[in-house]
């Protein structure tokens, strides 16, 4: 799967980081960094949770 973040929508609420810290990190500069754009399949449930939790619906998953 491929993780795509719309950075025009992202406002660094950091809920994605809470749901899938292996994939999403909001750093001290307040910006979101996608640590793995193509995370392994076993992370799918966490990544889908991050997609659901984003208050701005800024994350999409492409297969």
């Amino acid at each position: 799967m491929r993780v795509v973040v719309d950075f025009d929508l992202c406002e660094s609420n950091a809920l994605c980081m809470k749901a899938a810290p292996e994939v999403f990190e909001v750093r001290d500069d307040d910006f979101l960094y996608v640590l793995q754009e193509n995370p392994p399949e076993e992370l799918r449930p966490k990544v889908e949770e991050a997609v659901r939790r984003c208050p701005k619906q800024a994350i999409t998953l492409e297969d």
């Binding site: 950091a14 809920l15 001290d28």
Partner: protein, 368 residues
């Protein structure tokens, strides 16, 4: 799926921001499940229909269109409605903001270029409406009955700062000021508000943002316990086969050791899912650290935990002057809350500390 609004489910936070500002149209806020179309859920939708009563014994609901709906599992998620002021008159130009229809009516009022917008209540909805109105270039007055906005939740220092941020942007903020009446222009349109200090403020748009009331009246006589919402146990169960979730649910949160009703977006989402799993017999408790956010101008306020009056407050990161900081809230030797203004990363970190039961000393040590 029974809903009193005529719309399919939609996201409420943009109603005080992007949709009200005119940046987004309603289609943009439709809620869809992740990776599927909403039609894939094959739901029987009863929209624009309210539940009127519940017969627990017969496992049946009576609806406002005269029909009934039988069930073996019931999720009560009837939410809350906007509170109005005592003796609030039915005048054109006085608005509340809870639903999409409220938002579009207010947006139409904004599109008519009001000469002054008065927002009553500097809670998060009132504050966001004031910010959106100000960013559209209107003269805005923000009234708050308390000495400090959200005093019980933010404390005096952070609360006062929130008022100052509105002043930074040219909003006329009046603290310790309530509304004692409205001025009618004689043709059913609001012309002003009468303040508690006796002054009259001309206004052609008034937005009343003084909180919400849980929609529980329909449950009178049902046998369910109603006390600040539908009372549930720690798994969100209100009665056999009946769960509640979201703004209407008052459940026992074992992580915080108290019964609570939470009006936050994230809770509606998480508790809804948890309640559904409870109906499917999952027995784990619902024990979140509540979290929410508010966007006002270019400031993002995030609050996690459960702060209250009398909590110790420590500014541990950044500064109030920079409008970028982290404030910690402590009670009885424990970290109970964290507020961040444009500091998302530490808020998530302190949220985890709260979840793990960190002491006040541990929290301050983490702050370094």
């Amino acid at each position: 799926m029974i809903g009193d609004e005529p719309h399919l489910p939609y996201d409420r936070p943009p109603l005080s921001k992007q949709v009200l500002a005119g940046a987004w149209e309603p289609e943009r806020i439709a809620l869809t499940p992740v990776g599927r179309a909403i039609d894939d859920l094959a739901l029987d939708w009863r929209l624009g229909v309210a539940a009127r009563s519940l017969d627990l014994g017969a496992r049946k609901l009576e609806l406002s269109d005269g029909s009934t709906a039988g069930f073996d599992g019931l999720v009560i998620a009837t939410g809350a409605r906007a509170r109005t002021l005592p003796r609030q008159p039915d005048l054109e130009g006085i608005h509340v903001l809870r639903t999409l229809d409220d938002c579009l009516a207010l947006r139409r009022a904004f599109d008519a270029t009001p000469s002054r917008v008065v927002v009553v209540g500097a809670g998060f909805i009132g504050a966001e409406v004031a910010a959106t109105a100000r960013e559209r270039g209107f003269d805005v007055t923000l009234l708050e009955a308390l000495a400090v906005p959200l005093q019980r939740v933010l404390g005096d220092t952070v609360g006062a700062l929130c008022a100052d941020i509105h002043r930074d942007h040219g909003v006329d903020v009046r603290l310790s000021t309530g509304v004692s009446g409205f001025v009618d222009d004689g043709r059913g349109q609001v012309a002003g508000v009468v303040l508690s200090d006796g002054a009259t403020l001309p206004a052609d748009v008034v937005v009343v943002g003084v909180g919400v009331v849980p929609n529980v009246e329909w449950l009178a006589g049902s046998g369910l316990t109603v006390d600040n919402g539908v009372v549930c146990d720690e798994t969100c169960l209100a009665a056999p086969g009946v769960v509640a979730a979201g703004d209407v649910a008052c459940w026992y949160n074992p992580r915080l050791g108290e019964a609570m009703r939470v009006e936050h977006w994230e809770n509606a989402q998480d508790q809804g899912a948890h309640a559904a799993r409870r109906l499917l017999d999952a027995r784990d408790p619902y024990a979140p650290v509540p979290w929410f956010w508010s966007d006002q101008y270019d400031r993002k306020i995030q609050l996690a935990g459960r702060s209250g009056p009398g909590d110790e407050v420590a500014i541990v990161d950044g500064s109030l002057a920079d409008r970028r900081f982290v404030a910690l809230y402590g009670r009885a030797g424990k970290l109970v809350g964290v507020l961040g203004m444009n500091r998302p990363r530490p808020v998530m970190q302190y949220r985890a500390l709260i979840a793990n039961g960190a002491s006040w000393a541990e929290a301050l040590a983490f702050a370094g």
